[in-house]
């Protein structure tokens, strides 16, 4: 049975359908990458899987529990097995980096403070922030915040890791290091990861399976090779980075010429 299973999911915002009869299975121990253009419904799908919003219809099973129908206590229990790094990092600005990472350890475990300190140091060291633990989020660069969010996500050694555009805004070296970290977590702890990204090299480096979304529906799903070989026009367009509305240079030149002529006539 799949670790996460999405069935016939329909999500609407003010009557606008964002996900339309969406189905997806995420297997345990795999890295699944969600690809898709802006507004395709990737972040909405993540919010649904995390139980942050209720769908219009459909079911989402996480570890066998339907989180669209379960009680608050059950949802809390499931959430303890999920580590999340948000697109905006969502670090607590009132806490230092160390405290951000230590928060769940202090609140949800009975570990002693010395053990927690060690775990926090290790988590921060993995993303290269071991020397920045005393700083607050507002004292960090955007890239450092992202890395800190990635360090915080696996603090409780969760079964499932959800990363929303983890490498966006990072330099290529740090982004590559992050890819290796995800692969390391998968190998070492058999962690199941769900990653939203726009970075194609990163997606093809870390993914066991890739799911491509378009206009709230699943366009294609498969292994890296299956996606590379997919001949659907939208998949080809996305992989080959072909723009939807290319700038029509002659038309633009014509428009500018008319604009200048009008201005000259007026003066």
């Amino acid at each position: 049975m799949s670790l996460i299973s999405v069935r016939d999911l329909v999500v609407e915002y003010d009557g606008r359908r964002v996900l339309d009869g969406f189905n997806l299975d995420i297997e345990a121990g795999e890295v699944t990458v969600l690809l898709g253009g802006s507004g395709s419904g990737k972040s909405t799908l993540l919010r649904q899987i995390l139980g942050l919003e209720r769908p219009k219809s459909g079911r989402i099973y996480v570890k066998g529990t339907d989180i669209t129908r379960c009680s608050g206590a059950e949802l809390k229990k499931i959430r303890r097995s999920i580590g999340v790094a948000f697109q905006s990092a969502a670090l607590f600005n009132s806490l230092s980096l160390e405290d951000n990472v230590a928060l769940t350890l202090r609140e949800h475990t009975a570990l002693t403070s010395s053990v927690i300190d060690l775990i926090v140091w290790m988590k921060l060291a993995v993303v290269g922030l071991a020397n920045f633990g005393k700083l607050h989020p507002q004292e960090l660069s955007g890239g450092m915040k992202k890395r800190a969010a990635v360090a915080r996500a696996p603090a409780l050694d969760p079964e499932i890791l959800v990363l929303d555009e983890p490498s966006a805004g990072l330099d290529p070296i740090v982004a590559a290091e992050l890819d290796e970290l995800i692969l390391f977590l998968k190998e070492a702890f058999q962690i199941t990861a769900l990653v939203v990204t726009h970075e194609l090299p990163s997606a093809f480096r870390i993914a066991d399976r890739i799911a491509m979304l378009f206009n709230g529906s699943l366009l294609a799903v498969g292994t890296k090779d299956e996606i590379r070989a997919d001949q659907h026009p939208r998949v080809r367009q996305f992989l080959n980075r072909v723009p939807d509305n290319p700038v029509h240079t002659p038309a633009l030149a014509c428009y500018l010429e008319r604009y200048v002529q009008t201005r000259e006539a007026k003066s």
Binding site: R47, L50, G51, L52, K76, K77, R79, R80, I82, V84, F86, Q87, S88, A90, L91, F92, N93, L103, T104, R106, E107, H108
Partner: protein, 267 residues
Amino acid sequence: MANLFEIAGRETLAELDYFGRMNIQLWDTLRGMGRALPLIGNRHRWHAAVQQMLEIGVEALPMVALLAMCSGFILAMQGASELRRFGALHYVIDLVAVGFTRELGPLLTAIAVSGRSGSAFAAEIGTMKVTEEIDALKVMAFDPVEFVLAPKYLAALIAVPCLSIVAGLFGILAGGLFMFFSTHLGLVLYFRYVLASIVLRDVLAGCVKSLAFATIITHVGCLEGFRVRGGPDAVGHSTTMAVVRSTFLVVVADAIFTTIFYFVGKA
């Protein structure tokens, strides 16, 4: 005309929705309050509550004291200018003592706390909403109401009545200074008259009002924060609304309590 009824109906429903949400939030907070109590609760919540007490109470002390002193002088001088004509200057003592114990102490404190802390609650929680920190709390298996609101409410329930008593003392002291300079009445004698003019019921009435005002300020401020949708401009709007709504509701609640105490006192 139909349009007018439509607007009235829509606004009424919106207000009912607001009060419904506030009641649900109040109930959720009361259920989570146990976790913020010392010894039996979570020590992190209690530490947060103590921190909030310092911010709501201790930091507001100079402002509330000054506000009460000025109001005490004004009340004593306005009262004296009228009562002097009837040779009843000594009634200024009763006016200031009873007025500040029952009414002005709690009311002035509530207005000051609403401006300082109510707006701060809305801004803090609103910013947490915008930066996805509230979502991060949820996916970390924390209850945002218990984590963010319960310590603030507990702190307000302790700090606001204390501040009200301090405001009453400073207001009465200002009346004493006025009497000293205008009639050479000694402060010791003045305070004896004060103690003779107020009864325990006046103090209790002031405390009951303070608790109600603390509830209004905390829950309106936090609800405005939780209702934030969008960006920084929405945070600014929620901050303004928190002050406007809580000040208005404090005055309405004061009128209701005063009416109840008036008729209960007569009976």
